[in-house]
């Protein structure tokens, strides 16, 4: 019961971070700021959600899979952020030239 409440709190907190990230995405002025909001807030949201789900998981196998999912989502979102930022920098460089 206490575990359930703890898990739900963590998942709700994670969802709140996702909402914050999305607000940032919609409200911030340029691509780099938006990227900042997305990668930071969503990374934390993802981690909290995974932690919450881990508490509810039934077996060690499930926990291992959730952790793997967390690792790959975190890695790929970092790479996505990098690629977008790289693209933006190149695009602005060519404009200024």
């Amino acid at each position: 019961m206490i575990l359930d409440i703890l898990a739900l709190t963590l998942i709700a907190l994670g969802a709140a971070f996702f909402v914050a990230g999305t607000i940032g995405l919609l409200r911030f002025p340029d691509t780099l700021c938006r990227l900042h909001a997305l990668t930071k807030a969503d990374g934390l949201g993802m981690g909290l959600t995974c932690l919450g789900v881990t508490l509810l998981a039934g077996s060690a196998g499930e926990i291992a899979r959730i952790l793997l999912i967390w690792f790959f989502v975190a890695a790929s979102s970092a790479i996505c952020g990098h690629l977008i930022a790289r693209h933006v920098r190149r695009a602005t460089d060519t404009e200024e030239r």
């Binding site: 790959f72 890695a75 790929s76 790479i79 990098h82 690629l83 790289r86």
Partner: protein, 313 residues
């Protein structure tokens, strides 16, 4: 009264319809494709709600991931074209809108009139699952009860790659852009993991959601990573291997069917004692064929002998 999950379903349904409309009306073509990808991921969620996890996996991996990559690649190729060609006249739009509304009303009446919870074919599948060689009903349907459909599906993939190679013959493609060292490092990290995930999806298909198509799509993602990171560049000399990959699945699938038929049974009526082995063999080679074909569909053009001036990236 209302089950909170039903409210979730209704919200999801509205979001899906809104996204579908947004895909058609948004001006920017890049945004259009991104919206479609979001739409695809949301449908995967809806399919989980409809207790169809196999479909959700296939939709997320093939219908959204790979299709999105293909669309973005095509957009990169045709980005020079003007985005807004001649608009259609208002009369045509309204006439079509009227026709589509009629289609919707007709189908909706037919849908409402049909009972949702008819028994269907589930009892028959459940009755015969023990003889099929696998424990997961969807895999049993795909690889045993309706194996003929699946064979034809692999043939469709082969036809598609032949058509793409014919259509793109001699086209100069915009050289693939190098995505940088960090991406390449990520590819090196992710490649072995995706291979394991693809094989796991294939293996787990025998008793849980997963199977040849989902596993093949994951392995095709390996091909996409290799192509995008520049770790692998298709060479003309590799064409025979690629061709072997395209036909391997069909060849093994068809020869198993003929072999079974030669033993006095129907073509896909595997003997129950060997069903599991045969299905695993077929699934294994079909997965390889699907992975190779999907990756080749993404690459598009047949690797021909290219002049040196074009090979520099």
């Amino acid at each position: 009264m209302a089950d909170p999950l039903l409210i979730f379903d209704a919200l999801l349904g509205v979001a899906l319809i809104a996204l579908a409309i947004a895909v058609l009306v948004v001006r920017d073509r890049f945004a259009m494709i991104v919206l479609f990808i979001i739409f695809g991921l949301m449908t995967a969620l809806a399919w989980v709600r409809l207790s169809a996890p196999d479909v959700a996996l296939a939709e997320a991996a093939i219908g959204t991931g790979l299709a999105g990559a293909l669309m973005l690649k095509t957009l990169h190729h045709i980005r020079a074209a003007p985005a807004a060609p001649v608009p259609v006249s208002v009369g045509v739009v309204f006439a079509n809108m009227g026709f589509c509304a009629m289609v919707f009303v007709g189908l909706a009446i037919a849908f409402m009139a049909t009972s949702l919870e008819a028994p269907g074919l589930a009892p028959q599948v459940a009755q015969n699952i023990d003889a099929s060689g696998v424990a997961h009903p969807v895999t049993a349907v795909l690889l045993n009860f309706r194996a003929y459909d699946t064979l034809m599906e692999v043939v469709v993939l082969l036809a598609a790659i032949i058509a793409v190679w014919m259509i793109e013959r001699g086209i100069e493609q915009a050289p693939a852009r190098h995505l940088g060292e960090i991406y390449r490092g990520f590819a090196r990290l992710a490649l072995p993991a995706i291979v394991v995930i693809g094989t796991y999806l294939l293996w787990v298909g025998a008793y849980a959601p997963g199977g040849a198509f989902q596993g093949g799509a994951a392995l095709a993602a390996v091909g996409l990573l290799l192509l995008l990171s520049g770790l692998y560049r298709p060479q003309p000399a590799h064409r025979p291997i690629a061709r072997l990959g395209f036909v391997l699945g069909i060849a093994v699938f068809a020869s198993v069917a003929l072999l079974v038929a030669s033993g006095g049974r129907l073509p896909f009526e595997y003997p129950p004692a060997h069903a599991k082995t045969l299905i695993l063999l077929i699934e294994g080679v079909v997965t390889i064929s699907i992975a190779v074909t999907l990756a080749a569909l993404f690459h598009g053009r047949e690797p021909e002998a290219i002049p040196v001036s074009e090979t520099r990236a």
